[in-house]
Symmetry: C2
Subunit: 350 residues, 2 copies
């Protein structure tokens, strides 16, 4: 099925929800139980040295050379775990708030993208196309999103600073995941999480592409070997029954400003389109606590799209704990699917 994907440009890998924070380290070098869902295994120092020899582009700049009186460095993040994890802080800005006064889901999603690129740059394998390595760049290859899941328990608000920890690992012959955990920087509070699955696509032919050993070797310095705590490839979005659909938003079309540097529609635009099919009456007093998007096909500048959603299940009876599950379908007017998705919205605590 991988060859069917040609979705918006993005980067890598899968989330391990029990990511080690400074208080509760769960990640230990060269140790791990591959049968335990919560066990992790990271490369030992020897592995890193071997990998480093293979990689002419790698510069593990643990102390960033980009520091300009501390300010610039704080914008670029910090490597840890031998360069396999990037930690980056972001302030929530006024323009990112939605009508509920909280950061929008889209604004959080954008930050995940940025940390992926910063991670590649920090370890010295950044080339062009935002996430493409030099070996990928030679071949005109870019990352595309195959699937993503974002779970948010607490949305930050203006002037909050969030810390994002991110790492990456390979999956099968053709896939990569990127995992993120984000938390309140000041309190180190409860973390939210995101998992992202990607494959490589040739930008000229817009077709997915098998991984070459040269690219695998080049990315070795990023790789954090972990068992899949949650295997995103096994999460499938239900097929929405278009005949019983509850909500539909038609006449959607990308603008020039919705395109990224690879001239693909930005990921966050797809998210916005999906959210537009949730009824306003629900959006006004609910927030998205979880969303999964599964990309099937890329849309082009002059395509006209429809966003459909169907309330699949309602959990809870009172306003305070009401949860609604939605199935989503974004499709071209001819009926072909751009993406399938599912989301859970829950009543906001006022």
């Amino acid at each position: 099925m991988l060859h069917a994907f040609a979705a918006p440009t993005f980067f890598m890998l899968r989330l391990q929800p029990t990511f080690p924070c400074s208080n509760k380290p769960t990640c230990s070098r060269g140790k791990g139980n591959s049968n335990s869902a919560h066990a992790t295994m990271v490369h030992g120092k020897e592995d890193i040295e071997v990998a480093a020899k293979k990689m002419p582009y790698q510069h593990l700049n643990m102390e960033s050379a980009r520091n300009i009186d501390g300010v610039y460095d704080s914008f670029g993040g910090k490597l840890s775990h031998d360069g396999r994890v990037l930690k980056q802080n972001f302030a929530i800005r006024s323009y990112e708030l939605g009508p509920d006064g909280k950061a929008s889901l889209g604004s959080l999603m954008k930050r995940l993208q940025e940390t992926s690129v910063q991670h590649c740059k920090s370890v010295g394998i950044f080339s062009s196309g935002f996430g493409s390595t030099p070996e990928m760049d030679k071949r005109g290859l870019v990352w595309v999103t195959r699937k993503l899941q974002i779970d948010v328990e607490n949305y930050p608000t203006w002037d909050d600073v969030i810390q994002i920890d991110t790492w990456t690992c390979a999956s099968g012959d053709n896939g990569w995941f990127r995992d993120w955990v984000f938390r309140d920087y000041r309190t180190g509070g409860n973390s939210d999480s995101s998992k992202w699955s990607l494959c490589v696509m040739n930008i000229q032919t817009r077709r997915s592409f098998q991984f070459l050993p040269e690219i695998r070797d080049e990315m070795e310095c990023l790789l954090k070997v972990t068992d899949p705590v949650i295997d995103i490839t096994k999460i499938n979005c239900e097929q929405l029954d278009v005949n019983t659909k509850n909500h539909v938003r038609t006449g959607l079309s990308p603008a020039w400003t919705d395109l990224d540097v690879n001239r693909h529609v930005k990921n966050v635009k797809y998210l916005d389109w999906v959210l537009e099919s949730i009824p306003l009456s629900v959006l006004k007093n609910h927030q998205v606590s979880s969303i999964v998007l599964e990309f099937r096909k890329e849309c082009r500048m002059d395509d006209m799209l429809q966003s459909l959603s169907s309330a699949a299940r309602t959990l809870g009876q009172s306003t305070s704990n009401e949860e609604i599950e939605f199935d989503h379908l974004l499709r071209l007017e001819d009926g072909s699917a751009i993406l399938r998705g599912k989301s859970v919205v829950e009543a906001e605590v006022s």
Copy 2:
């Protein structure tokens, strides 16, 4: 005419293009020539002390109390000129780039908004509604944009850090301006600039509102008294002749995620709509070097809009220096104007 405005939420004041940088100070305390277009006059220390006594909410926190190991502080900006100027740095993120690989105009515009709010917060008069002071908040008042102009010579790209300097001053009985200069933080290079004109609106009635002395006093700590080097109130957008319009984009409508915390359509959404009427063939190899937007009326969630533009004038013959001026009109389907605008686009140097 002020009472006709009820546009998106925003903040304050006018730009003085010759803003003092560290190399060329043009701003001096208690000194100024009100007849000279380039002279500036700033309150002396005595004025500040008098003003401070009037303001129970004011805390001139020149050394921010928000500092958490340097990171958080760098996100919040720094006051200078007795608190009348805020300097704030921002990194350009991957998600802010357009298809030309440069930061979009919208992403720069958003940063201007953020510095306004940070300025109010830094001097201790931040309340709610993002820019509303406590006295405004008591009365249910918010800032609305009346007019704005942004001039950009050089668009930054990914990982660039821009420094924005911003200050504010009053204009007439009912208006305020906010001025910004943004420049490359690393090189201190050529600065671009923006001017923003605002008035106060009652959020319940959605009507503009006369300034009360209590609000004026409260804002005194922010005020930088300068002559209007460029008086934005005198810049008028041409009336676009809808019969000879060249380009039109119909079926535009705000989504829930386009609303800000005051439930107004975000400023940047208006900008996006305006840009959507510029032909794709032009957008593909030109960049906006200047834009003026003049807000007439607010649009609501269920409004359907049209964005019209007309190429008013073309300057230059060769591709390398070609400049095109556009007149813009954003209107409801019943024909009533939401905003008028004009822009200059110039051929991008490849």
